[in-house]
């Protein structure tokens, strides 16, 4: 299949109950009322030339190419801005229209470069196409008139160029930045002939402006004005393969546009149900890590972590690893071995890792990164609703009336979804933000939160209980819903609990620091403002009461009847591209795939029969407990796929000690990450471009990952796990990931009707996909909760053990930023380093002044656990008493400072609350320096001397 650009209907699709029939060039066409004539023509196979219209943004009416003639109307209206009317008779091709279109084209070309043949948009340019369509042969104005051809190119952005000499002032980029992304970074400066696209002030270029490099403008641009640098370097793509992004839990689908085996660009897929044709800087542009020089392509082993690595063949690596694993198992027992699955690898790959641990190693010591992010979601929503996942799809936000964002920063961490949320907010939905920090969403172009509750870190449950108090005592609960869908007596117990005076906003204000009046107003808004939807993230889960907070959220949603239809729900913003999938596949030590407890003999029997092996009925170790067990000598071997626990898990010293205590650490990854410093076996991994499989996003949407190039390391990750299993004596024989999915479907009721054929046909499927819901389940708990009745769990506020005091008077909370992703393993190896080169400590001006700290100064950040040094950023985004940093750069060692405290139910680390002190510093700590040099030493690879 050759390169086909994606279809463009000119103006956005319109929903309407009414249908309108009209005639276009003699053909009858029926479309929803409100559709433009242009789109109606496109939908019936005709096409009207246009340049300023594209169906991702509203009609603009500026190019004047799309003029048509309509019987009974004078003049030549633009078809993009003319809505259809019943019985309308439209003519798109007349002599006059032809003259007018050519006339407009002539004007365009009189002010445009003429060297198409050497232009990067050659054969991929709508201006070229339209000139061809109208049959332009002569530009009678000549080329000596006024023009814009001398304007310099802005190549400041690392991924795309802006060449104003080719700009046709269609404003598609400006409108895309406004309507699709919602950043409003672009405008047209000047007027008339001098109109030109500007990224901000006259002194701004794209890099210095507010542009977030999402690429919407590049995608919208019809010419080469905004163009990916890669296209300039490589040339026009020749084919496109749809695949899914490997960054965050939004799960954007892209067309990987290829030239041969070379990826030219990733273009958002307009039919992607999660992203609907939009992207962010990471998925769109930051895929260069796949070819970074840091990428290790060959297996390596070493006896001791003090030795340099020794490159070996795959066969030797598998043989060595299997032999060591078997030896440890024989000596210390099956429970001395374990594995960590990746939340970045595919469902199929994750399934194989947990199968290797359970069937091959013989224990349930398998865990996943969800441990440190959304494990409380799994626990909390399973307990209250019966399903360890969010209840809606992303489209649902467009029907929300009140959006409550708690402990999440979507414009940074889930930007494509945030853009849709902002679109709904611009339409008039109200916003409540509960966050200690004034995140961007609180007030940004055309978005303003009705309420921002800047609570003390660690007091989520208190705030939510206070809100529940308001809802119950002011009689705002949805009694009909509760009676029908929940246990009324249980509700009453819960209601009695929250109604107690000690849970009032006024009393709890002392603890939460949220003014009672604001909290009351916010609670009322959520309860009475229409469809109320809650979106939450790691600011909810990464606390000692993470699970309780999730259940408190569920309580609020049930109490107000905000479950079971579009526009409402409880929506965890899952972090990683496949963390949902990883949990679904049974990566937790206590659960098999589909969230069924290992102790349930019926489920266990199903697996035992299919796998032909007896399974350990006891829950296994979670990651923090694996480290504890390593220290006491009972846990000795760990297979880690695609996870860097040394950088991402809390209390770095403890992690390092645990890893060091193990006999065999196998790291299966793209790069020699921080954890690899303590590894004995390194198995090179493959990127999402190099394998087939599926990812499941935060909407429970299973989407295909499609291979577009052969793995540079030689094997897809699932093949690596299989070969290791085979080397250990397992008789696995999967020839394609589709076979693995078939096994998953066989063994997991909520995946029963999932197959690669089905995914091919449907595009994507949201589980449960079974006989009851053969095409998947966009919205859950529609008629009833999965567990039957929704369960109200009483959640009392239990303050964290992590307390501030005179030595550590400030509270540190952590988060993420748009351009870098988590530990930065991928993004630090792309041009995204031009943004956010280092982690900074945000500190309030009052606290900074007390300590004599200015922006840019080195500061020492110390807690009971450890200390590190980084630069300060003085800002009032944080409240006095709270400091904030990101954890993208290993040099920062932010997790040296975080504690061992964790969620009571899941041990999800309490990253969000650490008591710290901040003071000026001269430079890096001893630990940072010694770590840096140790890390460098541990990455040495022994090379055979040349013969």
């Amino acid at each position: 299949m050759g390169y086909e650009p994606q279809a463009d209907f000119g103006t956005p699709a319109v929903q309407s109950d009414q249908a309108v029939t009209l005639a276009i060039d003699g053909r009858s066409v029926t479309v929803p009322a409100g559709t433009s004539v242009m789109r109606a023509a496109a939908e019936c196979g005709g096409s009207i030339p246009s340049l300023c219209a594209t169906d991702s943004v509203k009609a603009f009416g500026s190019c004047r190419m799309c003029l048509v003639e309509i019987d009974g109307r004078k003049g030549t209206p633009a078809s993009c801005t003319t809505p259809v009317e019943p019985g309308m008779v439209v003519h798109t091709q007349t002599a006059r229209l032809q003259r007018l279109r050519r006339g407009v084209m002539e004007l365009y070309i009189s002010d445009h470069p003429l060297d198409c043949l050497t232009c990067s948009a050659n054969n991929d340019c709508e201006l070229q196409d339209t000139a061809a369509e109208v049959g332009l042969r002569d530009v009678r104005y000549g080329y000596a008139g006024a023009n814009h051809l001398g304007l310099p190119t802005d190549d400041s952005n690392p991924y795309f160029d802006f060449d104003p000499s080719k700009c046709i002032a269609c404003s598609r980029c400006v409108r895309a930045c406004d309507e699709v992304q919602g950043t409003f970074a672009l405008t047209i400066a000047g007027r008339g002939f001098a109109s030109k696209v500007s990224a901000g002030q006259a002194s701004d270029d794209f890099l210095s402006s507010e542009c977030v490099s999402c690429g919407a403008c590049v995608q919208a641009c019809p010419t080469a004005t905004l163009q990916e640098k890669a296209v300039k370097e490589i040339g026009k793509p020749e084919r496109a393969v749809v695949t899914t992004c490997a960054y965050c839990g939004v799960g954007c689908t892209f067309r990987a546009e290829m030239r041969g085996e070379q990826l030219v660009r990733m273009v958002p897929w307009k039919d992607g149900k999660a992203n609907r044709g939009h992207s962010c800087v990471k998925g769109r542009f930051a895929w260069g890590y796949a070819n970074h020089r840091d990428r290790v392509l060959e297996p390596m082993i070493r006896e001791s972590i003090e030795d340099p690595w020794r490159v070996v063949s795959w066969d030797e690596a598998f043989a060595y690893t299997a032999q060591r694993l078997n030896a440890i198992k024989a000596q210390h027992g099956a429970r001395a071995l374990g594995g960590i699955t990746s939340s970045r690898c595919t469902n199929e790959e994750t399934f194989l890792v947990q199968k290797l641990v359970r069937a091959g190693f013989g224990s349930n010591n398998v865990d996943t990164c969800a441990r440190v992010c959304h494990s409380p979601t799994g626990y909390g929503l399973k307990t209250t609703f019966g399903t360890s996942a969010g209840t809606q799809d992303f489209d649902s936000v467009m029907q929300a009336d009140v959006i409550l964002v708690i402990g999440a920063n979507p414009t940074d961490a889930h930007p494509v979804f945030a853009s849709r949320m902002k679109r709904r907010l611009r339409q008039g939905a109200k916003l409540i933000v509960i966050d200690p920090r004034r995140i961007d969403l609180v007030r940004m172009p055309h978005v303003e939160a009705a309420h921002h509750l800047p609570l003390q870190p660690g007091t989520n449950v208190a705030v939510l209980t206070a809100m529940a108090h308001v809802i119950v005592t002011e009689e705002l609960a949805d009694e009909a819903f509760i009676r029908e869908r929940c246990d009324w007596d249980e509700y009453q117990d819960w209601a009695r609990f929250v109604a107690d005076e000690r849970h009032s906003p006024e009393v709890l204000e002392a603890v939460t620091r949220v003014p009672a009046a604001d909290l009351r107003a916010a609670a009322r808004l959520y309860a009475t403002g229409g469809n109320g939807a809650i979106y939450y993230g790691l600011g909810v889960t990464e606390h000692s009461q993470g699970s309780s907070t999730v259940m408190a959220i569920a309580n609020l949603a049930m109490a107000t009847g905000n479950i079971g239809r579009p526009g409402v729900g409880v929506n965890p913003l899952r972090g990683q591209n496949n963390v949902q999938g990883s949990c679904d596949m049974g990566s937790f030590p206590h659960e098999l795939a589909g969230y069924r407890h290992i102790s349930d003999s019926a489920t266990r029997g199903l697996f035992e029969q299919d796998w032909g092996v007896a399974l350990d009925p006891e829950p296994g170790l979670r990651i923090p407990n694996m480290l504890d067990a390593a220290l006491d000598g009972s846990f000795r071997a760990l297979y880690i796929q695609g996870e860097d626990i040394l950088q991402s898990d809390p209390n770095t010293h403890h992690v390092a000690a645990g890893l060091k205590a193990m006999e065999l650490v196998i790291v299966h990854d793209l790069f020699l990450n921080e954890t690899a410093g303590y590894a004995h076996v390194f198995l090179p991994g493959s990127t999402f471009l190099e394998k087939d499989g599926t990812f499941t996003n935060a909407e429970r949407r299973i989407q295909r990952v499609r291979k577009v190039m052969e793995p540079a390391n030689g094997l897809a990750d699932w093949e690596v796990t299989q070969r290791l299993a085979q080397a250990m004596g397992q008789d696995w024989d999967y020839r394609h990931p589709a076979e693995i999915m078939a096994e998953i479907a066989r063994l997991t009721p909520s995946f029963a009707e999932v197959s690669y054929d089905h995914l091919e046909e449907a595009g994507s499927l949201q589980w449960p996909v079974n006989a009851a819901a053969p095409e998947g389940s966009p919205v859950m708990h529609i008629d009833g909760f999965v567990r039957g009745n929704g369960r109200f769990v009483v959640t009392d506020y239990v303050p964290t053990d992590e307390k501030t005091g005179p030595r550590y008077p400030l509270l540190l909370t952590t988060g993420r930023i748009l351009s870098q992703y988590n530990v930065g393993a991928q993004t630090r190896r792309t041009a995204n380093t031009v943004w956010h080169e280092e982690d900074l400590l945000e500190i309030h001006p009052a606290d900074a002044e007390n300590r004599g700290i200015k922006t840019g100064d080195w500061v020492r950040l110390a807690s009971r656990t450890g200390e590190t040094t980084l630069r300060a950023d003085v800002t009032d985004r944080v409240a006095p008493g709270v400091v904030y940093t990101t954890f993208h750069h290993p040099a920062t060692q932010a997790n040296v400072v975080t504690t061992d405290y964790s969620d009571w139910a899941t041990n999800c680390p309490e990253y969000k609350v650490t008591a710290v002190q901040v003071m000026p510093s001269n430079g890096p700590t001893d630990w940072q320096e010694s770590y840096a040099s140790w890390a460098e030493r541990s990455r040495r690879v022994a090379r055979e001397p040349a013969e």
Partner: protein
Amino acid sequence: MTLVRISDDALALACGADAVAAAFVAAGCTVERVSSWGMHWLEPLAEIDGIGFGPLFPEDVAAVLAGTSDKWIGAIADHPFIKRQQRLTFARAGKTRPLSLADYAATDGWSALNRVKSLTSPEIVAEVTHSGLRGRGGAGFPAGIKWRTVLEAPGPRKYVVCNADEGDSGTFADRMLMEGDPFQLLEGMAIAAQAIGAQQGYIYVRSEYPHAINKLNAAIELASEHIAPFRVEVRVGAGAYVCGEETALLNSIEGKRGEVRAKPPLPAHEGLFGCPTVVHNVLTLAAIPHIMVPGGAGLYDSLGIDRSKGTMPIQLAGNIRHGGLFETAFGITLNELIHDIGGGTASGRPVKAVQVGGPLGAYIHPSQFDLPFDYEAYAGADALIGHGGVVVFDDTADMGALARFAFQFCAAESCGKCTPCRIGSTRGVELIDRIRTGGRDADAVEALAQMHNARKDRRSRAEDLQLLEDLCETMQFGSLCALGGFTPYPVRSALKHWPEDFA
């Protein structure tokens, strides 16, 4: 104590009215600053007991008071310029002090607003519709239909917006009205607000009218109780002719680029801040009070011809002997206006052309001077009434240069959104230059061998004239708004009637 009335209208001030007023005061008189009578060749005009003296210098004051001045005009109300008019909108011109609530009330001020308070919205709309009032900004759209659309549009918020951008050359009626009778404008807006259910109104005044801005702000404060609960604010433009186009004006009020919006949706449905909005020119709103007095609608309807009902405040300007404000019923001819009333050119030379309707109006040849002032009659002659500005040119005018100017004006004021106007206006200037030099050779780029398809031979003047016609067609049918859309009017009319000026 002699009472002397002298205008404080900006034009009178520019002619030295303050000095004259000071001289009268120094001579012991009481001076009242009133609105201007709109007889520009007579300003500064002083009125004592109905007798006019002008144009005055301070040194004329003594003679005036002594009764020996040769600047004596006689009874102003009997002056032919005034007597031939039918002043409804400008009934108070020259007679009242602009910011005197007492003067306003004494001349029937507020009586229309008080009357409509006991009418329903549909009743008000019906009367306005019956009057036949059409928008006086230039589009000539029936006001009643616009009001009904907004009244019936759903939504909790609605607005009344007054377009006081008055960018057309040779026009000043809006300015005169705002400076001379601001309460009437406010009364008209308040009646409109009552009819459509608006709570808030804006008057968008061009930045180049500082006196009008100040007068309006003062008038709003004085009149606030009369028009309450309706509230009005003045918003000031920033030097863009295109912001006289209603959707660009709305964008400007919203703090955005003064860029034209595509229609549909109409401002009546989605206007200011996305809410249903009535946008009207100053004169349209100022006509409302005398339409809404008892019998007013019927009177209005009885004036004028065909579908052009009521009176039009025509602004006589340019190279004309008697320039000023001439309000009369539709139907008057240009011959009457220019020769009988205007007195021919100020220079005394023959009239060569008259441009009606602003810089984008057609140039009218003397052979067409029997055209009756009527929306449809002018449209039928490829001309337009616009805002009623009439600019006279004598035979020293170079129509080729004026056609070039039309394109230049369009280029300077273009918002830049649509291609025909953004690029076409610039190309138009270049094209006229080439036509006047007789065509062009291939330029350096066309001459290159690599430009294989480009014509290498010379383009004749005739071919360039054809291109000009094509450009006019492209701009007329392709432009997003009237700025690009009407530029062909002056160009084509100049070319058609004075081809010799293009040689």
